[in-house]
C-alpha cells in the first residue's frame, strides 16, 4: 500500500465505525429483538391448534420467505409512499428486517418447541399447570437451548444483511464506505476495510454465541 492509501484507510476507520455504531448495530439489534418477539408469537400461532390463527401465521411466513429481502425493503420504502404511507429510511429498514427475522426465526422456534418430548408437557399437566404455564416454565426454556445455535446464526446473518439498508438511504456502514469510495476512488481498499469491520462485529457475536451455549451446557437434555 502507498502512504496515501494507508492514510485513507486510517482516516476512514472512524467514520466507518461511527456508522456501524450509529446505524448498523442499532438496526441489527432492534430488528432482532422485535423479530424474535414476532417469531415467538408466529411459532405459537402455528402450533396453537386454532386454525385461522395458524393460517395467518403460515401466510406471513410464506410471503416473507418467498420474496427477496431487498425487494421487500424497496416495497416498504419506495412503494408504500404511492399509497400515502411514507416511512423514514431507518424505521423502514427496521420494519423490513423485523418481518424477515420474524418469519425465519418462527420456523426455528417452532421446530425447537416441537423437539421437546411430549412427556415434559404431560409432567406439567399432571402437576395441574395450564398449557401456557407448561410452555413458559418447562418447554420454552428447553426450546431456547435447542434454538440458540440457529438463532445466533440468524443474528449474524442479520448484521451483514443490514448492508442492504444502504439501498434505501440508510447511512449505515456499507453506505458510508460507498460515499468515501466516491471521494477517493479506492474501491478495493474501502470495501475490504468495511468487510473487515463486518468480520470483527460477527466474530464478537460468534464468541457471544459460544458463551451462551456453554451456559446452557450446565444441564444435559434427557
Amino acid at each position: 500500500m502507498s502512504d496515501r492509501q494507508i492514510q485513507i484507510f486510517m482516516e476512514s476507520l472512524l467514520p466507518l465505525f461511527k456508522a456501524g455504531v450509529a446505524f448498523t448495530i442499532p438496526l441489527a439489534l432492534i430488528s432482532f429483538v422485535l423479530g424474535m418477539i414476532l417469531a415467538l408469537f408466529t411459532a405459537l400461532a402455528r402450533i396453537s391448534g386454532w386454525k385461522p390463527l395458524a393460517l395467518i401465521a403460515r401466510f406471513y411466513v410464506w410471503i416473507i420467505r418467498g420474496t427477496p429481502l431487498i425487494v421487500q425493503l424497496f416495497i416498504i420504502f419506495f412503494g408504500l409512499p404511492k399509497v400515502g404511507i411514507v416511512i423514514d429510511p431507518f424505521p423502514a429498514a427496521v420494519i423490513g428486517f423485523t418481518l424477515s427475522v420474524g418469519a425465519y426465526g418462527s420456523e426455528t422456534i417452532r421446530a425447537a418447541i416441537l423437539s421437546i418430548p411430549k412427556g415434559q408437557w404431560e409432567a406439567c399437566f399432571a402437576l395441574g399447570m395450564t398449557r401456557w404455564q407448561a410452555l413458559k416454565r418447562a418447554v420454552l426454556p428447553q426450546a431456547a437451548r435447542v434454538a440458540t445455535p440457529s438463532l445466533a446464526s440468524s443474528f449474524i446473518s442479520l448484521v451483514k444483511d443490514t448492508s442492504l439498508a444502504a439501498t434505501i438511504m440508510v447511512t449505515e456502514m456499507f453506505q458510508t464506505s460507498q460515499q468515501i469510495t466516491a471521494t477517493y476512488y479506492e474501491p478495493l481498499l474501502l470495501y475490504v476495510e468495511v468487510a473487515l469491520i463486518y468480520l470483527l462485529f460477527c466474530s464478537v457475536l460468534s464468541y457471544g454465541q459460544a458463551r451462551l451455549e456453554r451456559r446452557f451446557d450446565r444441564y444435559h437434555a434427557i
Partner: protein, 249 residues
C-alpha cells in the same frame, strides 16, 4: 375416593377401554396388572385426564365428571381434577433444566403459588422423605434412574394430592435400582395415601395392594385381593399372564 362407571375410551375406531367399573376407597392401594396393550396405562391416564374417556362417569373425591363424545370438558374441571391427583411416570419426565429440588418446587410455585423460600423448604422435606435430601442440588442427568424416579415421586407428593398415580414406575430401571423406588412407594402406602399403581412387580402388588385388577384387551377381567387374583384365580387369561410373569412373584 375414585369411582369409574361404564367408562370407555376409543382412539378412533380402536376401543382400548370397555365398560370399566371400579371403586377405590380412601387410603387404599389399587394395583393394575395385565399384558402390554391391555389398556392399563390408558386407564391410569384417564384418571388425571391425560387421556379423555369417550363415555361414562368418573368421580375423584367430590369432583364428578361425565363423558360423552362431542361434549368438551371444562378447563376448570380438568385443572381441578389434576390438582387432586399426582402422577409418577415410567420414564420420570423430570425437568432436565432444573435441579432435583427445583423439580419438586415447580408445581408448588407455578400451580399453588407458594412463596419461593417456603416452596424450597417443603421440597427439601419431600426429598428427605425419599432419601435424597443431600442430592437436592443435582441436575437430573447427574442422578441414577432410581434417584430420578424418587425425585419424580417427591415432585408428585409435594402437591399433596388426594390420589397418587404410578405408571409402571420401575419398568425403565436397572434391576438393582428397582428396590429403592418400591421402598419409597411402600412408605407412601404405609402413610395411608390412596394410590393406583400400574406395574409388573407382582411381589410389590402382593405385599402392598389392597385390591388388584387384572386387565386384558381393554376389559377388567378379574378384580379382588392379591390373594384372590394371584393365588385363587381360575380364569384362563389371568393364569396365562401370571405364568408368564411368574419371575416377578
Amino acid at each position: 375416593m375414585l369411582q369409574m362407571t361404564h367408562l370407555s375410551k376409543s382412539f378412533g375406531s380402536v376401543q382400548v377401554l370397555r365398560d370399566i367399573n371400579l371403586r377405590l376407597e380412601k387410603g387404599k392401594v389399587l394395583v393394575i396388572v395385565g399384558p402390554s396393550g391391555s389398556g392399563k396405562t390408558t386407564l391410569l391416564r384417564c384418571i388425571n385426564l391425560l387421556e379423555t374417556p369417550t363415555e361414562g362417569e368418573m368421580s375423584v373425591g367430590d369432583l364428578q365428571l361425565h363423558f360423552d363424545q362431542g361434549t368438551k370438558l371444562r378447563k376448570s374441571d380438568i385443572l381441578a381434577l389434576r390438582k387432586r391427583t399426582g402422577m409418577v411416570f415410567q420414564s420420570y419426565h423430570l425437568f432436565p433444566h432444573r435441579t432435583a429440588v427445583e423439580n419438586v418446587m415447580e408445581g408448588l410455585i407455578t400451580v399453588q403459588k407458594t412463596d419461593k423460600n417456603q416452596a424450597r423448604l417443603q421440597a427439601l422435606e419431600m426429598l428427605r422423605k425419599v432419601g435424597l435430601e443431600e442430592r437436592a442440588g443435582a441436575y437430573p442427568f447427574q442422578l441414577s434412574g432410581g434417584q430420578q424416579q424418587r425425585v419424580g415421586i417427591a415432585r408428585a407428593i409435594a402437591m399433596d394430592p388426594d390420589l397418587l398415580l404410578f405408571d409402571e414406575p420401575t419398568s425403565a430401571l436397572d434391576p438393582e435400582l428397582v428396590g429403592e423406588v418400591l421402598n419409597a412407594m411402600k412408605a407412601l402406602a404405609a402413610e395411608g395415601r390412596t394410590m393406583v399403581v400400574v406395574t409388573h412387580e407382582m411381589k410389590f402388588a402382593e405385599e402392598v395392594a389392597d385390591k388388584v385388577i387384572f386387565m386384558d384387551n381393554g376389559l377388567i377381567v378379574e378384580e379382588g385381593t392379591p390373594e384372590q387374583v394371584f393365588r385363587q384365580s381360575t380364569n384362563e387369561r389371568t393364569q396365562a399372564f401370571l405364568s408368564r410373569v411368574k419371575g416377578n412373584v
